[in-house]
């Protein structure tokens, strides 16, 4: 079967001499939500940052194995990193809007592609903000600073900003960990909405969140993928003892 969005084959990741990911194999389905859970320092952030080559920014980072995106190894030499990052969007742990207006934040990804057509940009900005379920809250103040928004609104703006460049995948690295429960609920609704159009991969600390939003769940510990299955099965009948101990709160 090769309709997987990502096919991760025998991946090892090192930071200097330290092994951060240990022989990870995984297939991620398109247009579904895949959650990655595990205790702190288990490698789940490292894992998700491999998928859009964000780890390239770390000088001591080294990777072995293959990560195939639509069948193409994203770490092969003739790959354009910039193109990969445009097609695989990312939302970060802490909302990180640019110190610019709401409109300019959403339009940034288009402008760096050299798109100048004003009406086209306007249209995409509006549709992206709508898809991120924030349009109604910001439509009257598009030209105010994005930093005037609340944390939850900022995070939805960051999602809109990622959507605007029309990616195929949206990676989310603990997108709700800096938000209150109400803002979290809104983002979770949004994630369920987004999977109709995008492949979503979400790293989360919060097991209930993984259970609520995801179709598949992977459990990482100490750099190893211990179990990867349908979410329902992971949370009701895990086949791995370690997974069971973790999700029942025996450690973590």
């Amino acid at each position: 079967m090769d309709n997987s969005a990502f096919k991760i084959e025998d991946v090892n990741v090192f930071y200097g001499d330290k092994l951060a990911l240990d022989d990870v194999n995984m297939e991620i389905s398109p247009k579904a939500v895949t959650a990655v859970i595990g205790p702190s320092g288990c490698g789940k952030s490292t894992f998700i940052r491999c998928l859009n080559r964000m780890n390239d920014l770390i000088p001591v980072f080294r990777i072995e194995g293959k990560i195939k995106f639509n069948g193409i190894d994203i770490y092969s030499k003739d790959i354009d990193v910039i193109d990969i990052r445009r097609r695989i969007g990312m939302v970060f742990q802490k909302p990180n809007p640019f110190p610019k207006s709401i409109y300019e934040n959403t339009a940034y990804g288009l402008r760096i592609q050299g798109i100048r057509n004003k009406s086209k940009i306007e249209k995409i900005v509006e549709s992206s903000l709508r898809k991120a379920a924030i349009w109604d809250e910001v439509k009257d103040r598009l030209h105010q600073s994005a930093l005037s928004l609340s944390g939850g609104q900022q995070q939805r703006l960051c999602i809109a900003r990622a959507i605007a460049v029309e990616p195929e995948v949206i990676l989310m690295d603990e997108p709700c960990s800096a938000l209150d429960p109400i803002a979290t609920a809104k983002i979770e609704d949004l994630i369920t909405e987004l999977k109709n159009e995008y492949t979503v991969i979400i790293v989360t600390h919060n097991m209930q969140q993984a259970a609520r939003v995801s179709d598949y769940t992977g459990f990482f510990m100490m750099g190893k993928l211990h179990e990867f299955d349908i979410t329902k099965k992971i949370f009701t009948a895990p086949s791995n003892k370690m997974t069971e101990d973790y999700i029942t709160g025996r450690f973590g």
Partner: protein, 302 residues
Amino acid sequence: MSKIMDRKTLNRFYDKSFFLIGIFATSISLIFLLALLLDILADGMGRLGWQFLANYSSRKPEEAGILSAWVGTVWIMVLTGGIAFPLGVSAAIYLEEYSRKNWLTDIIEINIANLAGVPSIIYGLLGLGLFVRLLNMERSVIAGAMTLAILVLPIVILSTREAIKSIPPSIREASYALGASKWQTIRNQVLPSAMPGILTGVILAMSRAVGETAPLITMGALTYIAFLPASPISAEFPYISFQGLFDAFTVLPIQIFNWVSRPQKGFAIDAAAGIIVLLVITFVMNAFAIYLRQKYQKKIRW
């Protein structure tokens, strides 16, 4: 019981006395600055006026003015900034964003930090040897400005690097994650956010350059000239002229230095008036730097 009381009184006494020592230390520097200002104002205020600004220096103290000096200072200031800003900022961007960490960049970094501490007269010797003699620039405005630009370059580089470092990595990540190249990220995110810090550093570097005397005297700037560098703008075609770059010049600190070394009482008054003008220029520049910092700090919050 009484012992505990003593301890408490003693602590309170230490507290109070350190407070007083602090006030004393602070006021000493303030008092000296104030005394200096008052003394200079009392001496030089009478000489200040349109004539003083519009006359060249003269044998007669009452007729002497600082026209060539302040025009020279403005020339030097603009050119030094114009040379040091692009060079310093580019070097800082390279070191901060592009260079790989290895022994070569380590050496470069250590040397830049060291250069900031080299006595300014050494830069004067460099200017004399390199620009005036080797490159045959004579004792021109451009030679002086290049000497001072090299002098302030380490300051500009260091302050720019600090400004770039203070940009949170999350902003870069956000930009990269949207498919921006390195240069797009620097151009659109890093530089605009770092600009207030960079500008503050540049202005402070320039107010340092404006007050420098030693390197310019070493490279041979004249102490008395009765003409101005050719104006850069003219009414006739081609409107812009670079002739002035190669003319001789003097600057305020040199003019002041020249006057205070004269025996006549009148020149001491001229010197005081010149110092007032120089102080006003540096105060205005520092105020501008503070204004910029305040203005942008309000705009950018993380």
